[in-house]
Symmetry: C2
Subunit: 380 residues, 2 copies
């Protein structure tokens, strides 16, 4: 957290994290919330205030019958520090600058004609320069960069083990990006980054367990269980897209049969419609216009997604599920069937798990990357 400090008192991390994710809280409220004494919170908060990360808000009006000294809630100084987040896709870099409160301050993107490591790094350097040297004067108050990449990523070492879209194998992205940008870099899988962002700053705040499902060409899922992100011991986790929901369904590129993705991925939907040359958007238009056979494809797709989500609910019992992704452009067509499939396959109380829909634009994925670097900063 501080440039000098080796490791920081747990209470400081806890206080800062709680104020970040749950908003302004008085010291007394923090003490109750964290199971600490008031004295411990006072001591932990002092250096955070001195360093400019927290500020005392004006005393609020008090409720309740009796009197008493008004609380002075502690709030984040969002401007104290900024964080760059970049999502690396196969054909584009999308970058944002976020403040400490994870609000996006500015964004930019660069096309990526070539996904070679060298080229991506060069473009990344340019993108970061554009973001930090543009209006806002973020350069001086920015020390960290988060990168979100699809595929198998080791967050601890910042190694990209394998990324199918980029065709990367064992790229030490963290080291390379730190050399190019001069910032402290954190690398994370893109879905996990987005899940983290929702867990800290979105719908998943306060949830002990939480799932985020992304619908698009691929169908993915990020999981938080017992308050911690699920990483999977073989680097595989959240692969909801390859759960089999129909033994007699279409073959999937993964070798499985009737995978959710092979039924409900945008490519799979186009294929199932079976009209040569038709794009996904055109299929959506046809279905909205009432074309029965195309609508049926969307119905099956939504049902498959719902079944997959129910599998998540049945297995880990999250307290919330958020559905998101690019494929949500067709959400009006999918939603009733997603909900129907979910309700049918969710077991017992799992059916009561709230399912919310949030179209998260690509910029939000970059924000997810920034969020991961905020986390790394707070935990440092």
């Amino acid at each position: 957290m501080f440039p000098e400090a080796e490791s920081v008192a747990p209470a400081m991390t806890a206080v800062l994290t709680t104020v970040l994710t749950e908003g302004p809280l008085s010291r007394v409220a923090l003490a109750r919330r964290l199971g600490l004494s008031q004295a411990a919170v006072t001591k932990a908060a002092r250096p955070l205030i001195e360093q400019g990360y927290l500020q005392e808000l004006a005393a609020t009006e008090r409720s309740g019958p009796g009197a008493g000294r008004p609380a002075s809630p502690l709030a984040i100084c969002a401007d104290r520090e900024f964080f760059v987040g970049v999502k690396i896709t196969g054909d584009e870099l999308i970058g944002v600058v976020c403040d400490l409160g994870a609000q996006v301050r500015t964004s930019a993107h660069r096309p990526l004609p070539d996904a070679g490591v060298e080229h991506v790094l060069t473009e990344l350097g340019h993108l970061v320069d554009d973001l930090l040297d543009g209006p806002g004067d973020y350069r001086t108050r920015t020390r960290r960069l988060g990168l979100a990449v699809s595929g198998d990523v080791d967050r601890g070492t910042g190694l990209v083990r394998y990324s199918p879209f980029l065709h990367w194998h064992d790229v030490p992205l963290q080291d390379l990006a730190e050399k190019i940008t001069g910032l402290t870099v954190t690398v994370e899988n893109d879905v996990k980054a987005l899940t983290t962002a929702e867990h800290w700053f979105g719908e998943g705040v306060g949830a002990e367990s939480f799932a985020l499902v992304t619908v698009g060409t691929g169908i993915g899922c990020g999981l938080v269980v017992n308050g911690r992100l699920v990483s999977g011991s073989h680097g595989v986790a959240g692969e909801i897209g390859h759960i089999g929901v129909d033994v007699n369904g279409p073959a999937c590129h993964c070798g499985g049969r009737g995978c959710v993705e092979a039924i409900a991925g945008t490519d799979a939907i186009v294929r199932a419609v079976g009209r040569p040359g038709l794009t996904f958007e055109q299929a959506v238009t046809l279905a909205r216009a009432g074309d029965a056979s195309v609508s049926a494809v969307f119905a099956l797709a939504g049902d498959a997604i719902g079944s997959g989500i129910a599998a998540v609910a049945n297995l880990v019992g999250p307290s919330r599920i958020v559905v998101s992704g690019e494929g949500l452009s067709a959400y009006d067509l999918l939603e009733p069937h997603i909900r129907a499939g979910f309700q049918r396959q969710a077991f017992g109380a799992a059916a009561q798990c709230p399912l919310s829909v949030r179209p998260l634009p690509f910029e939000q994925w970059a924000r997810g990357a920034a969020t991961v670097s905020i986390q790394a900063f707070v935990a440092a």
Copy 2:
């Protein structure tokens, strides 16, 4: 851990837990394993030895080239304390006495003609008396009892929220059982208890994430993720039996379609064979004798189980999966199809997750209950 102590130094719990689950270790090895200083281990171990929970083994012969003082490994004194575990089924109580090392010392059972709470408690009292006052003189060194019940159980409060087999609603089983037996009682869901036992003392030792699948009339699953048991926020977790693997499959009693349990539960198999009056055992015999249509039913069942297990592997990426349960009497018929279904639907590296088979007799479920009380004791 100690009758007097309110809370115990974390290092003591860590040392005792590690020796329990990983066997005798020297202080130096423990320090490395736990990331503590040698001094901290020495200090934590002393009271544990004094109280008789640990003992120093004779120095072992040393390997390596140089010389050096031989290590004196610390081992559990298994006889120091005993634990009763009872599994409550719809028609029987199965009880065991385990030592501190979770070895079963003696067992007993009582039929349960009536699953009413009153009657179960009376029988439980008799069963515990039988176990503790029989040969072995366990009574004086036993202070804890673990109960395993199917259904929705709150381990923290020992409340059985709902148990379908027993037709129980909101039974404060912990309090009731403590009154009857005079022991400190822990209550846990049966599958979770068995999973805990395998995680601490079985195949799952040392695994950060681990899944146990039980195959029988119902099909269940216990999950350990990031080293912690998954409980599910609505009391639902590990319901692998109600994952839908065939949208066109048979209706399930849960309201779903093509649930694993509706295809591969023992009742479902009997129904799918479709010969009135035929028992499960007779179906097994027919299939073993080569009856093609019956064999096909087992093939479909195995495939469905394999798909469900693959869903677990894809979502949480456990480092091991253990398959168990009564239905394993037919495991020769199911196994190849379970493995085939798993391999087909497991995504990428998830397919490398080792799948082991362990028929765990009912007594092991009672041992699971005892294990939960051992955990409660160690953490106390």
